[in-house]
């Protein structure tokens, strides 16, 4: 019953790693010194506001363009010069799913199956049937939702060890979204697949992600386990007369109109809340992930 014993990846190299990635586009910095590391078998949810640089970070980590500074590694190899063996183990779904519009879905799967040795044809066929997508219709004539699903099947059917999804659920209805999350969760838990997906729908992350990373204006504000975000962080509200005692290092701090202060505090290494939490009139609320995100991102 313990899922991890089923399939242990044959390499212990970090599936995905970024070291000091920075990138500027037209003079504007998009990524500022990002250090990120995924553990094998983990599911990392990358959240950020629109334009925070999620897609750019993902593309830089896969070596799809050359960043201004920093390096990225996939399975221990430099992302810009991946070997065939590494490429076989990656599945990537970009944000725009309009690849190969001149082929049919069946043709695209047939073509890619020749390149990926572990391609699961039965799974691809089954999923196409279940989602009722016409396999012999030229993809230019499919709707955007169907094309995104085809792209998802394409990435999943190659049985990759690292799945990278860029806003995968944008065009999916709730049922398909739930199915996708289920698929991701089971693969991560049972086959040890590492998953990185970016989204701005927070409720999906709470279900499936084992780790969360907040990207805000090109900086990584938070990177921790999902359960930690609920257990380690809380919102502290101090009335106006106690505001001066607010702790010094907080993840965010807001001053309200009446002088009171609310800030996001963290437990220290011993699991204790800062002193300010015990002040008279102080109130502490547990934070859901969405609230935490909104607080930090402001």
């Amino acid at each position: 019953m313990n899922a991890v014993l089923n399939a242990v990846p044959d390499t212990l190299a970090t599936p995905l790693e970024a070291c000091g990635l920075s990138h500027a586009y037209e003079g504007r910095p998009v990524l500022r010194g990002i250090d990120l590391r995924l553990a094998p078998g983990s599911v990392l949810g990358l959240i950020g506001r629109n334009g925070a640089g999620k897609s750019t970070l993902i593309r830089a980590m896969l070596g799809l363009f050359q960043p201004t500074a920093g390096e990225a590694f996939v399975f221990g190899e430099t992302a810009l010069k991946l070997s065939d063996a590494a490429k076989e183990r990656i599945g990537y779904v970009p944000q725009q799913p309009d690849a190969l519009a001149w082929l049919t879905a069946a043709q695209m799967f047939d073509y890619l199956s020749r390149f990926y040795p572990r391609w699961d044809k039965a799974y691809a066929q089954r999923t196409l049937d279940r989602w009722q997508i016409a396999p012999n219709k030229v993809m230019a004539k499919l709707s955007p939702g169907e094309r995104q699903r085809v792209d998802l099947i394409r990435a999943l059917a190659s049985q990759p060890e690292l799945i990278v999804l860029d806003e995968p659920v944008a065009a999916l209805d709730p049922v398909a979204r739930r199915e996708l999350l289920r698929e991701i969760a089971l693969r991560a838990g049972e086959q040890g697949t590492t998953v990185l997906f970016s989204t701005h729908i927070v409720s999906d992350l709470e279900r499936v992600a084992s780790h969360i990373a907040f990207l805000h204006e090109g900086r990584l504000l938070l990177h921790c386990a999902t359960d930690d975000t609920k257990e380690r962080y809380a919102r502290l509200w101090l009335p106006a007369d106690q505001a001066v005692h607010a702790p010094a290092d907080t993840l965010s701090r807001h001053r309200h109109d009446d002088g009171s202060v609310s800030c996001v505090i963290a437990r220290d290494a011993n699991g204790r809340w800062p002193e300010a939490a015990k002040r008279a009139g102080a109130r502490m609320d547990a934070l859901g992930l969405e609230d935490l995100f909104v607080e930090i991102a402001q």
């Binding site: 899922a3 991890v4 289920r182 089971l186 991560a188 838990g189 992600a209 084992s210």
Partner: protein, 127 residues
């Protein structure tokens, strides 16, 4: 037991694994789960609720370490023998602790006297 017996609220401030453990505890103490009853596999629960199997696995391990569940070889997780009887009144009262604390806090905010609240509670419990 069926995986649908558990309800998962991802948006709640309580981590999912803790929600599962609490619900299992409530089910055992409340008598819906009998001693020796087999629990659904990690995969079933994870698949039903679309959550990470590691979370379910963590919940089961935590419940096992608290003596709520036990692992049967070849069959999976089952409710620990001697379930209900082993829970003394004080342990069951401890389950109610969060709700009682919340009621106490609200009563304090509304500046209600303790005995008025206690009398109302008495009536509601039908004793």
């Amino acid at each position: 037991m069926d995986a649908s017996l558990l309800t998962i609220q991802p948006a709640s401030p309580e981590p999912i694994y803790r929600q599962i453990v609490e619900q299992l505890r409530r089910l055992v103490v409340g008598g819906q789960l009998h001693a020796g009853e087999l629990l659904p596999s990690v995969r079933e629960v994870a698949g039903f609720h679309a959550i990470n199997p590691m979370t379910v696995s963590r919940a089961y391990s935590l419940a096992e370490s608290e003596g709520l569940l036990e692992r049967l070889r070849g069959k999976g997780m089952a409710v620990a023998a001697g379930g209900l009887a082993a829970h003394s009144q004080s342990q069951r009262l401890a389950l109610l602790e969060p709700q009682l604390a919340a009621v106490a806090q609200h009563a304090h905010d509304l500046e209600l006297p303790a005995d008025a609240v206690a009398r109302r509670l008495h009536k509601l419990m039908g004793a």
